[in-house]
Amino acid sequence: MGVYEKFKYPGVNLKVAMEMGLKEDEYKNACDILGREPNYIELGVITAMWSEHCSYKSSKKHLKKFPTEAEWVVQGPGENAGIIEVDGDICACFKVESHNHPSYIEPYQGAATGVGGILRDVFTMGARPVCAMNSLRFGPLNNDESVHLLEGVVSGIAGYGNCFGVPTVGGEIYFHETYQKNPLVNAFALGLVDRDKIFYAKAEGKGNPIIYVGAKTGKDGIHGATMASEEFSEESESKRPNVQIGDPFKEKLLLEACLELMQTDYIVGIQDMGAAGLSSSSFEMASKSDTGVELDLEKVPVRETGMTPYEIMLSESQERMLLIAKKGYESKVKEIFDKWDLDAEVIGKVTDDGFVRLNWNGEEVANLPAKSLADDAPVYDRKYAEPENQSQIKNFDLSSVDDPGGYPAILARMLSNPNIASKKWVYRQYDHMVQTNTVFLPGSDSALLRVKGSNKGIAVSSDCNGRYCFVDPYEGGKAAVLESALNVAVSGARPKAVSDCLNFGNPEKEGVMWQFVRSTDGMSEACKILNTPVVSGNVSFYNETESKAILPTPTVVMVGVLDDINKRIPSFFNKRGSNIIVAGN
């Protein structure tokens, strides 16, 4: 009996495809590429790969306008993370990414696995993570739900980062009613890597073994990527995938094992399994290298008996990596993972025919062209238009705000606003000192790290004011870049490059798309003028619940370099009697 009968996979037609999340023309397009209808496993893989989350189909066109190059940029967008030069061969590798939807469903685990995912993005490239940050948005704290989400998210970030041993050195947090049912959790990580030790997601060398390492595969988060590409509704609640549980301890072992392996010359390429798990990692590796891969899915280490090939391809279990070793070095690789008590299993090999072939106990169950599926993924030029009431929003009459009665009262009201009040409650829960590099602790304008073995320092700040962006997305986008650059600059560092996380509502709505286009225009403009290219980032659309979108929130994380750590400038008054000077206007 073949796999399709055994697991009772349904036949595929347009209806099935649409239920899974493909649009009609996307399905037709897929059939054209294949020259036939896909089977059920193939359909699952295509749907995940072509989801907004994995394919950037609504944003691709607009992301092209970001400046991405400068002398110090070692790796721009398109890899797991961006890389810039810090000091000679010492480079910084960083990225920010959203984990909004999972954090709303289960705040602790959602935030924790968000941190885990971004750390993997950084260490797959060979970099040891040296700091983390996060940018958070919640509804106002006047109700239990918001408090529950805030507490859960903060302890999830703490739980994962602290155990992993990366200092969480800063971030931002903001409250507004539009985030009530759509909190934002954007996680950032930065690692250090030597220029000649950078690793890429390459599947090269016909016959080279593909090795699966890390945690076993379970039924976690199947279709998570598709879910992150839809609005929330009663219906999506019921389609909810199994919540992913993070295991920071395992990730710490995976980090050490991978970095140890990367000191050897046993491996060709490595890729983490993030959204859409094994599907996207195997396709990306094959399509980037113009090769192919063949996987024997029954060899994938699984956590539960009875897992089907479909589930194995789409599982989003955490703490897993795929690596390509040089032929003949399989046992050397295994030895290193053994030392760290981790699974390492050869599950396939690199081919040269451009196809991703999936086998199950000898039977071929899927066969897809890697490059054309990746390259011919749908790209939309979505319509956009300024919302009709935008001028009304913009011409808000400030005199309509009531006066609390003089400056002292205004100051008191401002300071008691959670958006302005001290964030110590949050960052006290994060280990922000581990690794002994944190020179400016949270509470400063930017975090500042020393770089052991160098005189330089790295400054990082994350900023975005969603209300500015709502009133005027163009100016708001500019302001986000500028604010983060200023925060970095006041520590004494020169802003060098940006990673961004673009959180918006449903891009199929013209008004939302307009916010997106205008914000990114503004950001591009500011990045060009400041000469701070965008080297990595992430887009999160569909942040809507019951058709209400969040404030446009393009989070900007600016990374800067301070040439001499001894010339740093703290953001506090240091001495009684110092002069106070206001600069700018």
Binding site: Y430, M433, T436, V439
Partner: protein
């Protein structure tokens, strides 16, 4: 002298301790892998902070069953000097080398911040560069630093001057308010009767350089380095 930093799976202050001992204090230092069955040739062993085995079950509970801990116990029983910091302190109480136990902070949250601690006993090999009653500014970073010991145990500790550090306010005043985690008697660090095994929740390795905002921790390592000098 030669120092060893024990590395458990999940240790994450191992590099920091190594850096403090080796790069800042110039002590010959090596890592010791948890699967090692022997710790010959060392004069000082440091059990670093972190989350050994993910801190699953109880902090330090699983690390206690590593082969290296048997060797550490043996080393300590023969008079070798052992310093447990944070998770290392938890491993020492779990394995019975130090009295008491460390349970969840009273607010159930992880706490990372600079705190004040008062030196209660500057006569140990680990604290001789301090003065009795000196106040140190030193970071803590833990979820389970709430030191528990029963009354009889506490009396023993006091009688034998085994309480080394206590949480206090900036002027050395001691009250429940300045007790970040709920520890009995505001205890932040203890030593065994023989004076060769010390455990503490605060992280001296995080404050050994003015660049990082303080160097009060430096003197702890300087004390033990001087004490073991010529060893």
């Amino acid at each position: 002298m030669k120092a060893g930093v024990v590395v458990f799976p999940g240790s994450n202050c191992d590099h920091d301790c190594y850096y403090a001992l080796n790069s800042i204090l110039g002590i010959n230092t090596e890592y010791i892998w948890h699967k090692e069955g022997s710790v010959k040739g060392f004069d000082l062993l440091v059990l670093p902070g972190g989350f050994s085995y993910g801190d699953y079950l109880r902090c330090g509970a699983i690390a206690k069953h590593s082969p290296v801990v048997d060797a550490v116990v043996d080393f300590a029983e023969k008079g070798g000097h052992v310093l447990g910091i944070c998770n290392g302190f938890q491993v020492l109480t779990e394995s019975g080398l130090l009295p008491g136990a460390l349970i969840r902070n009273k607010n159930l949250k992880f706490i990372c911040e600079y705190v004040s601690v008062i030196v209660e006993n500057a006569k140990t090999g680990f604290t001789s560069y301090y003065n009795d009653g000196e106040i140190l500014n030193i970071p803590i970073a833990h979820m389970d630093g709430n030191y528990y010991i029963d009354e009889k145990g506490l009396n023993d500790l006091l009688e034998n001057e085994q309480v080394v550090f206590r949480y206090c306010d900036a002027d050395g005043g001691i009250s429940e308010e300045d007790n970040p985690n709920g520890s009995v008697y505001n205890i932040a660090g203890v030593i065994n009767k023989k004076g060769n095994i010390m455990g503490m929740m605060p992280h001296p390795e995080r404050c050994c350089e003015p660049l990082l905002g303080g160097n009060h921790g430096y003197y702890l390592f300087e004390s033990i380095k001087n004490f073991l000098k010529g060893a």
